[in-house]
């Protein structure tokens, strides 16, 4: 499970999607999500799915990675599906133990699950094609106006970047710890609740200590390289819109307009 988290997993490729400014991509994801919520007919999800497939192809990210992003949230998906299935009122079509399944429930469950899945697939593409640094820079620029009202956007961008950098390290470390404690007889599945707590503790404490150790090391390393948290800093690759971004924006807004128009005139 824990190995399947795709957040912060950049997939290095040389593609037109990778080259886009991260602000453009952020906007793209936003529009994509809005579109997901605007469309109602399940067939339109298929269209959105095709669009995403095309974008993955364009970004030269293998389709295997598409499923990877979903694996991490498979439990959430199942939960959403089952919950919607049994909790939507309507015309009953089947009876399972104490639960009534309705026709509306089936439709709702499918459409909601698909919507979340599509959302994750779209957002994963963003993290596959932009380094966390680019994302942090993009967010920093996009929300830079907040700096005026003393929201420390720059510091937050640095924090986001470091968090992304350490996610895979801490995941790896958790895996090693799980193996190590399992070698000392810890079982994470079949045991009483009290024991489970104690067992989780045997992971959390070492993990916490390691995070503290790492952060104090890192703080020293950053200080040695001139990081002070104050003053102006520059960028190796300052964010700059290129012609590709302009084309992308035009396409994105055309797409959004199309979806809105369809929604308003109700053509299914």
């Amino acid at each position: 499970m824990i190995r399947d988290i795709t957040i912060g997993q950049y997939y290095a490729q040389d593609s037109s999607i990778h080259k886009l400014d991260s602000r453009t991509k952020l906007m793209g994801v936003l529009i994509y999500i809005v579109a997901l919520f605007l469309v109602k007919n399940p067939w339109w999800y298929l269209l959105l799915f095709v669009v995403i497939l095309a974008l993955y192809r364009l970004a030269k990210v293998p389709y295997g990675y598409l499923l990877r992003g979903l694996k991490g949230i498979v439990i959430l998906l199942i939960f959403t599906f089952v919950f919607r299935l049994i909790s939507t009122p309507g015309i009953p079509v089947a009876q399972l133990w104490i639960f009534t399944i309705t026709g509306e429930g089936i439709t709702k469950a499918i459409s909601l699950t698909v919507r979340i899945a599509l959302m994750i697939i779209g957002a994963s593409l963003l993290s596959y094609t932009s380094t966390p640094r680019e994302l942090a820079d993009g967010l920093e620029k996009a929300f830079g106006f907040l700096e005026k009202i003393h929201v420390p956007i720059h510091d937050m961008a640095v924090i986001v970047m470091i968090a992304f950098r350490f996610i895979p390290i801490l995941i790896e470390e958790t895996n090693v710890l799980m193996d190590a404690q399992a070698s000392r007889g810890v079982e994470f599945e079949k045991c009483s609740v009290w024991k489970k707590c104690r067992n989780i503790f045997s992971l959390l404490l070492p993990l916490f200590l390691s995070a503290v150790r790492r952060s104090s090391d890192l703080a020293m390393a950053m200080e040695a390289r001139g990081y002070s948290g104050e003053g102006e800093t520059s960028r190796m690759y300052p964010l700059r819109y290129h012609s590709g971004d302009r084309i992308a924006y035009v396409l994105m807004f055309l797409f959004l307009a199309g979806v809105i128009v369809m929604r308003v005139v109700n053509i299914y």
Binding site: L177, A180, A182, S183, R184, G185, F201, P206
Partner: protein
Amino acid sequence: MMRIERLGFTYSKNTVDECRVLEDISFHIQEGEFIGLIGSSGSGKTTLIKHLNGLLKADSGAVYFQGQNIYDKGYVLSKLRKEVGLVFQYPEHQLFGRTVLADVCFGPQNLGMSKEEAEKSARDCLELVGINESYYHTSPFELSGGQKRCVAIAGILAMQPKILVMDEPAAGLDPETKHMIFDLVEEIRKKRNIAIVLVSHHMEDVAYYANKVLVLHQGRLVLTGEPEEVFTKTEFLREIGMDVPQITSVTEKLMKEGFPMVNPAITVKEAEERILKVFRERGGAE
């Protein structure tokens, strides 16, 4: 005691990252053996040792412990975990107990020892690794780096394993602590007649302590034998990107220059004896 038969393992099966890590591995571990498992980074050493106590399940082949296949239905893995103690790299990072003693008792108690038994075993093992009784009730985090490592090793030893597997137990330690830990392991092996499996990059240590060496390369066992046999195959080892002990390399060079030695030496002591012998024999002829 343990027999590994034609073991194979694939990482991330049926995904984009699918990768064959181990292929057709067979060897056995006997009482009192000191096995050195060597291989360059990424050769599959860590993956292999995770099979020895059932943390990973092979997708082909079998592991027999005391005659029983551990992949048989109904085999209790927790029993195996007790018999095969695994010490991971930087084991001090897994310490979490409130006191040194409590931490060492954690493994044995999980694996079915009673509180009294566990404590007795823990005390024995702490004494073995040279941790003074005055530390038993302090927090393990107050100890020095070397001491923490010893406590972590005691935590595995206290389970009274019959096979002790250690992944690079001396990593990051200074020479003094390193020698202390190796000597200690050697002492425990003799005392309890347990088997040791040492995974290490340091050929000098393996050559000095091991009495059987396994060489892993790209997931396959490419060489098995006594240290003398393995390390004197210098050309082959270099070909697969591995080091030989410096002493082996230097005695080999001597031989090439025409110094009358039969075989390259693998420890300093051996080299010393052989060189002295050459001079003494000549002295005797004079």
